[in-house]
């Protein structure tokens, strides 16, 4: 049953234009190549997981796709065009280390809506919704920077989602969360996905991957080692890098 749904999706995805596309994207810093010629398309409505060992380039890839870094070679396309400010606003990102303004929880949420151009009146209701969603209502007037790491991550997810992005990037959003908070974030993200938000998420958690992923992009040393449906990449990996990872081995070889 589940597979059928996925197959239909996969077929329709072939025809659909990718929401976001990387064409030969490479990135170097300080003369050192870190990301090598990555080609990929993110289809609308899918949940794509970016996986791979520490330092394999997951965070860099997300930054390149979101437009925070300019590729040294190749290009990123948003709905088939070079991204503009509108593209940026149709995307949101939750960083591996949440960035909180030196303001209250409430003011942090309000700021995000304000820069999105939402009028003051509509903001108040939306902010309250987001507070409830992240179960942070009791902490609304607290400075955001005194929240615990997990609370900050919940706030970061709520802040990203309240702007109703078409595409949401999440870089290990539950890495410092307890099981209940992890569940809360997964529910938030899955609810957003059900509303049609496209998800691109980095995770190291195999269980979470199984709960949250449609598709996996597996990185090794700045290259895509393997890409495919979740059950295939994690269940029957074809690349040595992904196989080693699923077995908990350290893999240092070059892909292919």
């Amino acid at each position: 049953m589940r597979d059928t749904v996925m197959d239909i999706r996969a077929e329709s995805a072939v025809a659909a234009q990718p929401l976001l596309e990387a064409r030969g994207v490479g990135f170097s810093a300080g003369g050192q190549p870190l990301i090598h010629g990555i080609d990929l398309g993110i289809e609308p409505g899918r949940r794509t997981l970016v996986m791979g060992a520490n330092g394999s380039g997951k965070s860099l890839l997300l930054r390149l796709l979101h437009g925070l870094l300019t590729p040294s070679s190749g290009q990123v396309l948003w709905r088939g065009h070079a991204p503009d400010r509108g593209a940026r606003r149709a995307q949101a990102m939750v960083f591996q280390r949440p960035v909180m303004l030196r303001r209250s929880v409430l003011a942090n949420l309000n700021f995000a809506l304000k820069v999105h151009g939402m009028a003051g009146r509509a903001r108040a209701a939306r902010v309250q919704e987001a507070l409830d969603m992240a179960r942070l209502s009791d902490l609304a007037s607290h400075p955001a920077r005194v929240l615990s790491g997990g609370e900050q991550q919940r706030l970061a997810v709520a802040r990203a989602l309240m702007c109703e992005p078409d595409l949401l990037f999440l870089d290990e959003p539950t890495s410092s969360l307890d099981p209940a908070s992890t569940q809360m974030i997964e529910d938030l993200v899955n609810a957003a996905h059900a509303r049609g938000v496209t998800i691109v998420m980095v995770t190291h958690d195999l269980g979470q991957a199984r709960r949250m992923g449609d598709e996996v992009i597996f990185l090794h040393a700045g290259r895509v080692a393997e890409r495919g449906p979740l059950h295939q990449v994690l269940g029957a990996p074809r690349s040595e890098a992904a196989r080693a990872w699923t077995q908990g081995r350290l893999y240092t070889g070059t892909p292919h």
Binding site: H66, M93, V99, V115
Partner: protein, 235 residues
């Protein structure tokens, strides 16, 4: 011979009687310095924030320039403003020489680079932390500067204080362009210089004590504000 104790006693007496001359001098000092600091902040805060938050060509040069201007010798600024405002100077027609306005201009020139350079440092550090989130939000340049200035407000208070300290204690520039004219351009520092050289040590010391007291009060107020901001995790 005079004894320090006697002079101190007389100086304190002067402060306690608080005559018209004394209050005139203190108020003019405050008016000139506060106006100069306000104008310096109006120019220096946005300027420093822009240099701190954006990469552009010539940014390095601007930074070096601001840092160099921070150490401008007051007498040189005084001389420069004097030349501008004297009858033969390009702005002589305004007739501003030996007025409080001339003193405000000189102090503004002294303080603006200090405010700008220190603001640049504060904003640059904060921006390092915020840059990616702001880019992700798709913030406009103007909104970015405004948000950085607002979030750095407690640190910037210290910046304004540094400017105030420099201006209120400065004597060389205001002496040259103000002329230390009784009832017109006499401020605390110029009066101290003049009265000391005349041997009128009571008045000089009284003003010295007031100047010190002012510095202590302003510093304490700013530190208290900052401490409360730190407690609230906003600094």
């Amino acid at each position: 011979m005079f004894s320090f104790g006697d002079i101190m006693a007389e100086a304190l007496g002067l402060i306690l009687t608080w005559d018209r001359d004394l209050s005139e001098i203190v108020l003019l000092s405050l008016r000139v310095t506060l106006t100069a600091v306000a104008i310096s902040c109006l120019i220096g805060l946005p300027l420093g924030a822009v240099v701190g938050a954006f990469r552009f060509r010539g940014r390095g040069t601007v930074t070096v320039l601001l840092n160099a201007l921070m150490g401008l010798p007051p007498v040189v600024v005084g001389l420069f403003v004097y030349l501008m405002l004297s009858n033969a100077g390009p702005l002589g027609i305004l007739g501003l020489l030996y007025t409080p306005t001339a003193m405000i201009i000189a102090q503004t020139i002294l303080v603006t680079p200090i405010v700008a350079a220190l603001t640049k440092q504060v904003v640059e550090d904060l921006h390092g932390e915020y840059a990616e989130q702001f880019a992700s939000f798709g913030l406009t340049a103007r909104a970015r500067v405004a948000a950085l200035l607002w979030d750095a407000r407690y640190s910037l208070l210290t910046v304004a204080l540094a400017g105030f300290g420099r201006a209120v204690a400065e004597v060389g520039a205001v002496l040259i362009v103000g002329g230390n004219i009784n009832h017109v351009t006499r401020v605390m520092t110029t009066t101290i210089a003049l009265e000391t050289s005349k041997g009128n040590l009571e008045l000089a010391l009284a003003l010295g004590v007031l100047l010190l007291g002012l510095a202590v009060i302003v510093n304490a107020a700013v530190m208290a504000l900052r401490a409360s901001a730190v407690r609230a995790a906003y600094a």
